[in-house]
């Protein structure tokens, strides 16, 4: 006969306010199998836990039920307490009378009745709990970092410096991400390239970092400590070992008018190209979409119409017939750092977004976005740092900066604040005024959000010292009139309509997660929010973990982030990964399926449904050694404890420990009491 202790927590007022905790304890006191039932103000406090431990020892309890908060909150706490009191920790369960009861009901009578039901149900379950031992699984002390922007680089460096191997993959031809496109960075106005490039090189040369550029995640299998990741190395057409980055191929390439992604469309590149001079690695890729030779091949021409790059390459590093290749890497932890992209105001929009018809759907040439302005202002940009507008290359004398384009605009599909725009707009206004002294910089804003060290001072400086004109109000329409760009705004502070004949308009468009984030999230089985940003495990207390153990998140793929934030998160993931790698083995709950070989009929239906391939067929031998049958075997290291196998088992021979049929049916039966 089981001797179960029931401990009802008041959680201060949180439970006691709507649930009569004493009544709950009272109701369970005489329930068959219950040895002791008590209530206490704070079960999770030291005295509370002491009370539980004492009760275990005094009544040598066989099981413990804590009627308190969600198991997701404090199960660990109380199981530890039981363990210390000498009771197998898996004999302890939580009855959730807070989240699932006191917090969602008002009527004290109802809530108390329900609390009693919930607690009794768990008591009945615990009667069938069995003492179990935790499972120990090995940890592969290698990490995968997805995304070679500043966040990915930082995470990779921190883990590598911690003495563990890192596989860093980047879908573009070079690492560096958006930061490499920036001119100067707020609030210090130091040159982005100057602080980033050394980090890129360091990552490339680090003995512990293995870099795959022009690569993407194809498949992810396994679980914390034991992932197996398949990486697709996209056909580069250039042999990374042979190439010495001389650049002769680029010089030879006839297709020279392709809009450069790095220059945000303001500059041109060749078909075989290195995205930018400081690229790491300094090895070109061949853009087959725009390559003359491949265009010819797609047209089905008999012989290749070009090949100048190959002829120019003295190292014979170019091969037009390479195909995508796949490499698999075994890692123990994964850091997602895929970063962001900007909201494109055009007519064509992905699900849920609308675009800006009132701003001409981006068809006015002198209306550009923030990244394009960064390239204009960048010394290494298409204009070598001169602010010249795209349409006619003239120096704009009046530039309008528009905040919150896309951001904070639910009607366009984005409700959140992109966080960085207020700052980079101030920076843009400054840079512009520094370069064009007689120019006007006019910024339309709703609020100035400059929370951060030195941030507000910075944005004030743009107004007070550099003379940027800030107008509080959203812009209603932007359209081209002659060689001017008309801007219809409103100054809500002076209460007047403001019409400006601008020479150029810079839109601070919203930050969105990178393309393909949802597919990647699915491969990693982590969840995303409605905008596609990766969900952290807890908004406050677990900001860089995800709901999948062993997968961490850093930078702008989790929410809009500026550089300091992204770097801080990256280092946090570094610490998390190093922490994970500090032990040789992971302890896992024994929530795994076990097969009863006596009753298993070897139909192997379980094998079919197992999402983890944890089940295999095994021969069993009789005492004399001859094979007497086939049965299923569950590999406890691989099994994740979903229990699907048990639900399909014909002979009821496979059983998920911690969720056995007996336990669940007892819970169901317990509810029959609720009349």
């Amino acid at each position: 006969m089981s001797r179960i202790g029931v401990f009802v927590c008041h959680c201060g007022e949180n439970i006691a306010r709507t649930v009569d905790c004493a009544a709950v304890a009272e109701a369970l006191k005489d329930h068959p199998g219950v040895a002791v039932a008590e209530d206490y103000k704070y079960m999770c406090s030291d005295p509370g836990q002491a009370l539980v431990k004492k009760a275990i020892e005094d009544n040598n309890l066989t099981g413990v039920v804590i009627a308190a908060c969600s198991p997701h909150m404090h199960e660990k706490t109380f199981r530890r307490a039981c363990d210390q009191a000498g009771l197998n920790k898996f004999m302890c369960e939580m009855a959730n009378v807070r989240e699932h009861c006191s917090w969602i009901h008002e009527d004290r009578g109802e809530a108390t009745d329900k609390a009693i039901d919930i607690t009794r149900t768990i008591v009945e379950k615990v009667k069938h709990n069995r003492p179990l031992e935790s499972i120990h699984i090995p940890v592969t002390k290698r990490a995968l970092v997805i995304g070679g922007g500043i966040a990915g680089i930082q995470a990779a460096l921190d883990i590598a410096d911690g003495g563990h191997e890192v596989v860093l993959i980047e879908k573009e031809a070079s690492i560096g991400g958006h930061m490499s496109q920036l001119s100067e960075t707020f609030p210090t106005l130091d040159c982005s390239q100057c602080i980033l490039t050394p980090r890129m090189v360091e990552a490339y040369q680090h003995p512990n970092i293995k870099l795959h550029t022009w690569s993407e995640v194809e498949k992810v299998e396994g679980y914390i400590g034991n992932f197996e990741v398949t990486i697709r190395k996209k056909a580069r057409s250039v042999d990374e070992d042979l190439c010495n980055g001389c650049g002769d191929c680029q010089a030879a390439c006839p297709a020279k008018r392709i809009p450069s992604e790095f220059e945000a469309g303001l500059g041109k590149r060749t078909a075989i190209y290195v995205p930018f001079p400081q690229a790491v690695p300094n090895i070109p890729v061949l853009d087959r979409e725009n390559c003359t030779l491949f265009k010819g091949r797609r047209k089905g021409l008999a012989k290749d119409v070009c090949g100048k790059c190959k002829e120019a390459c003295l190292k014979a590093a170019i091969d037009f017939d390479t195909e995508d290749t796949f490499v698999t890497e075994a890692v123990g932890a994964i850091v997602v750092a895929t970063g962001f992209k900007l909201y494109d105001i055009g007519r064509e929009q992905p699900e849920g977004l609308k675009g800006y018809g009132e701003y001409g759907y981006g068809e006015v040439p002198d209306v550009i976005d923030g990244l394009q302005f960064e390239r204009l202002a960048s010394a290494s940009g298409p204009t070598e740092g001169a602010i010249l507008r795209p349409s006619d290359g003239k120096e704009p004398k009046t530039v309008v900066f528009v905040h919150c384009v896309g951001s904070r605009d639910p009607e366009k599909g984005i409700s959140y604040c992109s966080k960085i725009c207020c700052m980079y707009n101030a920076k843009h206004a400054m840079l512009y005024k520094h370069k064009v002294h007689d120019g006007r910089a006019i910024a339309f804003y709703m609020d100035i959000r400059a929370a951060g060290k030195g941030y507000d001072e910075f944005s004030r400086r743009a107004i007070e010292e550099d003379g940027a004109e800030y107008v509080r109000g959203r812009v209603s329409r932007i359209f081209r009139e002659g060689d001017k760009v008309k801007v219809w705004g409103y100054d809500t502070l002076s209460g007047e309509q403001v019409v400006i004949d601008a020479d150029m308009v810079v839109l601070a468009t919203a930050m969105r997660p990178q393309d393909g984030i949802r597919e990647l999230a699915q491969k990693l089985s982590v969840s995303t929010d409605e905008h596609g940003f990766i969900n952290e495990a807890h908004p406050k207390l677990r900001p860089v973990e995800t709901n999948t153990a062993g997968v961490f998140v850093a930078g702008a793929c989790q929410a809009p982030r500026d550089i300091p934030d992204a770097v801080a998160m990256a280092s946090a993931t570094g610490a998390k990964v190093l922490g994970l790698f500090s032990a040789d083995e992971l302890e896992r709950e024994p929530a795994v399926a076990v097969v009863d070989e006596n009753t298993c009929i070897g139909c192997m239906r379980c094998e079919l449904v197992c999402p983890y391939g944890a089940i295999e067929q095994r021969e069993i031998c009789a005492v004399d050694g001859h094979v007497c049958g086939q049965v299923a075997y569950v590999n406890p290291g691989v099994c994740q404890g979903c229990g699907t196998c048990q639900a399909v088992c014909l002979s009821k021979s496979v059983e998920l420990q911690t969720f056995t049929d007996e336990q669940i049916f007892s819970e169901i039966n317990a509810l029959a009491y609720w009349e």
């Binding site: 009132e358 001409g360 759907y361 009139e481 002659g482």
Partner: protein, 322 residues
């Protein structure tokens, strides 16, 4: 093709007769049957819903109910204002709590809210393929070929999007498509969807003059030769009031209904399209267009002949050299 229920609305029986006349003429040409809703009543225009929301829904609803009772599933409301009120009522009844139940009582007749509402531009856009063909095979030279026209949508054809929704509310293209189908050039200008002052034509003329002027000036600065509209309000504001807007010595800009334009392209006579009813005299404009067209035809003819002659000459040479 089966008939569509035709809801002309008050203006098309009054101040904008030409819209009605040209529409009927064009529909006939395109083989679209129009059946005027028997005993239709006014939609209430802006006065209706400005004064009382329910009234603003009930007045148009009566006409939808009539069309329903007379066995139609679509109503054509060429007047942008009527179109907007009819569709708005349809939407309100479909979405607002309890309205669907309440309306039959208010109307004193059954109503299932089952008919769709279309406007003239929608109708013509959908028929633009046919228009193109007919223009191509027309005997008379198309007077509109290469003429620069500004499509003016105003408010009621495109806003609110939930109500209209057949075209982009900020950068609409449907009327431009019809213009192109007529062989003319749709100019890309900026006032397509700005308001002309609508119902204030009589009660607050000053505003209408200010707003109308901005529209006409912008159209002119984009070298439009005429403005195309599909709304009686816009038309009377820009046509009737243009004299008052104009500065001394300014060439007036003809304001044509989209149906009139299509009619011209199809080779119908301006008079049959009611173009004599305009306040901005369309006669000079038309003579110019016809002249241009005639000259074009001649020029084309000459070019052909020259080409033929050259070819002959070449052939001759070869003979000789051979």
């Amino acid at each position: 093709m089966t008939d569509v229920a035709y809801y002309p609305g008050c203006s098309l029986h009054g101040t904008s007769r030409e819209f009605d006349e040209s529409l009927r003429a064009v529909a006939a040409e395109l083989g679209i049957g129009l059946a005027e809703i028997a005993d239709w009543s006014c939609c209430g225009a802006s006065s209706g819903h400005t004064t009382d929301h329910l009234l603003g829904v009930a007045l148009p609803a009566r006409n939808l109910a009539l069309a329903e009772a007379q066995g139609f599933d679509t109503v054509l409301a060429p007047c942008a204002a009527c179109y907007n009120r009819l569709s708005a009522a349809r939407l309100a009844i479909a979405t607002e709590d309890g309205l669907a139940e309440r309306i039959p009582d208010v109307l004193g007749r059954p109503f299932a809210n089952s008919v769709e509402v279309h406007n003239a531009v929608e109708l013509l856009r959908d028929a633009s393929a046919t228009i193109e063909q007919k223009v191509a095979v027309a005997v008379a030279p198309n007077p509109l070929k290469g003429v620069k026209l500004a499509a003016y949508y105003g408010c009621l054809l495109v806003r609110p999007f939930e109500v209209c929704g057949y075209d982009d509310p900020e950068q609409p293209t449907s009327m431009d498509d019809v213009i192109e189908a007529c062989g003319a050039d749709a100019v890309d200008w900026d006032m397509k969807v700005e308001c002309c002052g609508g119902a204030f034509s009589v009660s607050r003329t000053a505003s209408v003059l200010r707003l109308g002027r901005a529209i006409i000036e912008n159209a002119r600065s984009h070298s439009a030769e005429a403005i195309i509209v599909a709304c009686p309000l816009c038309h009377s504001n820009l046509d009737l009031r243009q004299k008052a807007m104009a500065r001394r010595g300014e060439e007036p800009l003809p304001i044509l209904f989209v149906t009139e334009m299509v009619g011209l392209a199809l080779g119908l006579a301006p008079a049959d399209l009611g173009m004599s009813r305009h306040f901005v005299d369309t006669a000079p404009f038309m003579t110019r267009l016809v002249k241009q067209a005639a000259e074009r035809v001649v020029a084309e003819k000459l070019a052909k002949e020259e080409a033929a002659a050259k070819a002959a000459a070449r052939a001759e040479k070869q003979k000789v050299s051979a």
